[in-house]
């Protein structure tokens, strides 16, 4: 579909906010892969990830009016919409129940709280970079970014003071940054 047309981010946002359906088709063509990667890094099950991606695009279409360019680029916003939808799904009762019905492979090597309930996700993108971080940083990024735990929850689960959680996450993020540059 009209792959020859390209829009600047501003034009695209303006058209989306005007409910232009062609611009939405363009958005899907250009970003569904990247966003599916984001969702798949959090949700292993392909069928669920696909449902979530559909939900992500519906959310983008519905919430585009609240997107504020002053606060970040369009992709950053969409990426956070995708991450939030994926985490909401993972933490939902229904998803947790469905996981319990499956045989959970023994993850003997892990002491990460919550990871026992998660199947292995594809090691791509940020997730792949994560493996290069040292353990204490890896755990914190995984729990906060990929599993959506709040700093408070992490502090309680890992029995680390809240202040330490915050400084370690900040430190982990700066390391992450140097790795993906």
């Amino acid at each position: 579909m009209n792959t020859t047309t390209t829009y600047s981010e501003q034009e695209l946002v303006a058209l989306l906010q005007q409910r232009n359906d062609h611009s939405f088709s363009y958005l899907y063509d250009n970003y569904s892969g990247a966003l599916f990667g984001v969702v798949s890094a959090i949700i292993a099950d392909q069928e669920t990830a696909r449902d979530v991606l559909q939900e992500v695009f519906v959310n983008i279409w519905r919430k585009i009016g609240s997107y504020d360019p002053a606060k970040g680029r369009l992709f950053t916003w969409m990426m956070n919409v995708a991450r939030n939808a994926a985490i909401d799904k993972v933490r939902s009762r229904g998803y947790q129940d469905s996981l319990k019905n499956h045989a959970i492979p023994d993850n003997a090597d892990t002491n990460i709280a919550g990871s026992a309930t998660l199947p292995q996700v594809a090691d791509t993108g940020l997730k792949k970079v994560l493996t290069k971080l040292k353990e204490e940083h890896r755990v914190l990024i995984d729990m906060s970014y990929f599993q959506g735990y709040t700093h408070d929850e992490i502090s309680k689960i890992l029995e680390i003071p809240l202040g330490t959680v915050k400084t370690r996450i900040r430190s982990a993020l700066t390391h992450l940054r140097t790795m993906i540059k």
Binding site: D21, F24, K63, G72, T76
Partner: protein, 262 residues
């Protein structure tokens, strides 16, 4: 903490990845507005992240696009778009309309208040003008009556009383109706009396002074009247004004200010 330390503290990554607390978010947004280098650091990381995501894109099943498009823009059922698109579009429209209404309302309110104040002021000055007009018109009709009474009545006789030695500039006029015996006095010029004194008008008939009444001191303090109605008198050849003690005397005691014959 200087700006560079702030940038390298991990806040940029924390914000962009959606891990910052609401307080950190608003602080970061403020820093972005204040320091171009913070904003640039944010954009740089956003681009890195976007590039990273694009490189690690996973193509969703091709059939998903149609599902998504159907969920968002159903083309077959015309009614559904109202149910799906409308809330967002409507909410947006409503937001702008509400904002516009608020602005209009504020503007209108301000206008109304200023108009109200203006109207109040105009009403007050209008009332004052009407009052002035009423009293002037009333005064005018009084004067007209008085003039008519004096000029149209053939029985009126006049005595112009000239100032005497004590006050040569004094001057007053008496109008006497010979049929009704009414006496009117016009005070043309008399010095203002002391508070305990009062002018008294006399008619002199066959050498005898007859009291015709007191001149109210208010005449000298502003409540000007063209003509003062005095006591009736049956016969007179001469009129005179003397300055007496307040309330008057039965016979003239004080200085004579004016005197005139009919």
């Amino acid at each position: 903490m200087n700006v560079q330390d702030y940038i390298s503290s991990g806040i940029v990554e924390s914000y962009v990845l959606g891990l910052a607390s609401p307080e950190e978010q608003s602080e970061f947004e403020r820093m972005c507005r204040q320091y171009p280098e913070v904003l640039q650091a944010r954009i740089d990381f956003e681009l890195v992240l976007e590039q990273q995501a694009v490189q690690n894109a996973i193509a969703p099943p091709p059939a998903l696009k149609q599902q998504v498009m159907n969920a968002v823009l159903p083309s077959e059922a015309k009614i559904i778009p109202i149910n799906t698109d409308a809330p967002a579009a409507k909410a947006n429209w409503f937001k702008y309309a509400a904002a516009a209404c608020a602005i209009l309302l504020a503007g209108s309110l301000y206008w109304n208040i200023s108009q109200y104040n203006r109207t109040q002021k105009l009403q007050a000055s209008y009332d004052e003008v009407v009052k002035d007009y009423d009293s002037t018109a009333f005064r005018l009709s009084e004067i007209e009556e008085e003039i008519a009474m004096l000029t149209l009545n053939p029985n009126i006789r006049m005595a112009a009383m000239k100032g005497q030695k004590i006050s040569p500039a004094s001057f007053a006029t008496v109008f006497w109706d010979t049929t009704s015996n009414d006496v009117y006095l016009q005070v043309n010029n008399l010095p203002k009396p002391a508070n305990d004194k009062q002018y008294q008008l006399w008619a002199i008939f066959n050498g005898q002074p007859i009291d015709v009444g007191m001149i109210d001191n208010a005449v000298f303090t502003g409540e000007k009247k063209l003509l003062l109605q005095m006591k009736n008198v049956r016969g007179a050849q001469t009129f005179a004004i003397t300055l007496e003690k307040k309330g008057g005397s039965s016979t003239p005691q004080g200085d004579m200010y004016t005197l005139g014959n009919l």
